[in-house]
């Protein structure tokens, strides 16, 4: 099993969810996060006082998939989340040791 952690533009959340749903992936966890990579922040001015806002709002998507489905899922995700501009975000993939469904103690890929 692989865990996919994708940090994407907030406005790309819906297209990504739809793309994943289209290939039969329903489970995921979403967190509103702030951060930046190469994308520079912006300047805000309130009554003459300047503030540099360099941590920008992003969405963090976490989902765990069976090894066999990884490439397919990554392809759907990158296609849906891409604008081609700086700030599109990043995807990290991890090995997962175990998955447990709390309701009935299913283990491994059966729990996904």
């Amino acid at each position: 099993m692989k865990k996919i952690e994708a940090i994407i533009q907030p406005f790309k959340l819906d297209p990504v969810k739809e793309a994943l749903k289209a290939i039969g992936i329903d489970g995921m966890t979403i967190t509103e996060v702030r951060g930046h990579g190469r994308q520079k922040g912006h300047k805000e001015v309130y009554r003459g006082q300047e503030y540099n806002v360099d941590l920008l709002p992003k969405m963090k998507l976490e989902l765990v998939v069976a090894d066999a489905r990884l490439d397919e899922v990554l392809r759907a995700l990158t296609t849906a989340a891409r604008t081609g501009k700086i700030g599109d975000g990043k995807i990290f993939v991890y090995d997962v040791a175990e998955a447990i469904r709390i309701r009935n103690d299913d283990r491994g890929e059966a729990a996904l």
Binding site: E44, V45, Y46, R47, G48, Q49, Y51
Partner: protein, 457 residues
């Protein structure tokens, strides 16, 4: 047949009322007076309610949006609780000190506990409305004035110290200033026997200079907020501030047009001048900022509108619509530079620009009133022969500008000295500044044990 019946009836009616012409005229006179009183009283009660709306929710939202999230309730409370504190103080002694006849600086205690302030009009101030209407209308001004100061000490003053400060400030600064400008026999009263007649239609000196200058003294005395100016202190919700500023704009019609104390033509011209001043100032601030920083901020536009309302306040019942536009436009630009460049250059932490907007705008408005006041708008000032007096420079009375400067100087002096003394007292008795840990935690939790927002519940 019906016509005949009608005729008989009316002849009979005439025969049954053998009133003299004098008696009927007297009855008519009473009816006309009662009708005028009804109209005036309706407008003045409405105005009183509008002015209360300026403090809460108007100012509470305007200031509440400008602070950080951890201080939103504490800041709104500064405005809200004064609606209660000043009301009690006003009933006990405030109205009397401000509006009873006394010496040129302060009223005596004849109206203490509102004794003798009933339904019968007080012809010295407003002959067509109940004395109580006048009293409660003036109360709303006394409520908002100290609330304006809270913009300077926001996010760092102890709540208990703020209460004591406000009560003493009303007693030592506001009531005397209101008496001098509006009270019978007050030193600066232009209508009721003041030695130095100063025009202040709705409170440029009484409300805005006193509060704005006291705000500067508070900002200097309390010192900067922890982390200012290096840490992020962005307004937590400009949305709240926009709503607050719009409520202030609407409420200000009660403040200025209500100061005509009647539903009169003068109320109309004050209403128009107020509106024009606000509009022009919003544009003035917006364009000044657009040119300097490249973007017209929403906060800038609404701050400009408030600055214009401040500046037009003393002038509103004295000036033509076009000078009102000019006064507003100048106020928008001047207050923009005060709140941005001047504040940063001198480094004082006037957190929400109470001085930059109210002190600067009030001073500008008070002086410009001396230039643009005209008897074409306000013919209520007459000499002993009944001839209408020239008012401002545009009427040929250049000396009025000097009177306005004197009135302004007295308001500045009283605000500086009074506020310093009061802060010293509060500091000795309670300590004015919140503990550092309390300030970092935020006043909502440390002073009030609450938080403004829960997103989880």
């Amino acid at each position: 047949m019906r016509l005949l019946t009608l005729l008989v009836c009316s002849v009979a009616a005439m025969a049954q009322t053998p009133q003299s012409v004098d008696a009927r005229l007297a009855a008519l006179d009473t009816a006309v007076k009662s009708a005028q009183s009804a109209g005036d009283n309706a407008w003045m009660l409405t105005s009183a309610a509008l002015v209360l709306m300026m403090t809460g929710p108007g100012l509470a939202l305007f200031y509440g949006g400008l602070v950080r999230r951890k201080n939103v309730l504490g800041t709104m409370m500064h405005s809200f609780i004064l609606m209660a504190v000043i009301t009690a103080l006003w009933a006990i002694v405030g109205y009397s000190l401000a509006f009873a006849e006394g010496n040129p600086v302060i009223g005596d205690l004849r109206y203490a506990f509102l004794r003798g302030v009933g339904i019968a009009p007080n012809p010295d101030y407003a002959g067509t409305i109940p004395h109580q209407t006048y009293m409660v209308y003036q109360l709303m001004f006394a409520v908002i004035t100290p609330a304006l100061i809270s913009g300077a000490f926001a996010e760092r003053m102890k709540f208990s110290a703020m209460l004591l400060f406000t009560v003493l400030w009303a007693l030592l600064v506001y009531f005397p200033m209101a008496h001098m400008v509006w009270g019978k026999g007050g030193l600066l009263n232009a209508a009721l026997g003041g030695k130095i007649p100063c025009f202040d239609f709705a409170g440029g000196t009484v409300v805005h200079i006193t509060s704005g200058v006291s705000a500067l003294v508070c900002a200097l005395y309390l010192g900067k907020r922890v982390g200012y100016p290096h840490e992020q202190m962005k307004p937590h919700s400009v949305v709240l501030s926009v709503i607050g500023a719009c409520l202030l704009w609407v409420g200000w019609f009660g403040f200025n047009a209500g100061s005509a104390l009647a539903a009169s033509g003068l109320a109309t011209s004050a209403f128009v001048a107020t509106h024009f001043g606000a509009a022009a100032a919003a544009l003035g601030w917006m364009f000044a900022e657009w040119i300097r920083t490249g973007k017209p901020s929403v906060l800038g536009a609404v701050s400009g509108c408030v600055a214009g309302l401040v500046a037009i306040t003393p002038a509103s019942g004295f000036v033509q619509p076009f000078p009102a536009l000019l006064i507003g436009f100048l106020a928008g630009i001047v207050c923009y530079f005060m709140a941005t460049m001047v504040k940063h250059k001198f480094g004082y932490d006037d957190a929400l620009d109470a001085f930059g907007v109210h002190g600067a705008g009030g001073t500008l408005g008070a002086i410009l009133t001396g230039i643009f006041a005209t008897s074409a708008i306000n013919d209520g000032f007459k000499d002993s022969a009944g001839k209408v007096l020239a008012l401002g420079w545009v009427d040929g009375n250049a000396g009025q500008v000097l009177n306005q400067l004197i009135g302004t100087a007295i308001a500045w002096g009283l605000a500086i000295v009074g506020t310093l003394i009061i802060l010293k007292i509060c500091d000795a008795v309670i300590g004015v500044r919140a503990d550092r840990d309390d300030e970092i935690q935020g006043l909502d939790l440390s002073m009030h044990g609450e938080e403004g927002y829960f997103f989880e519940t």
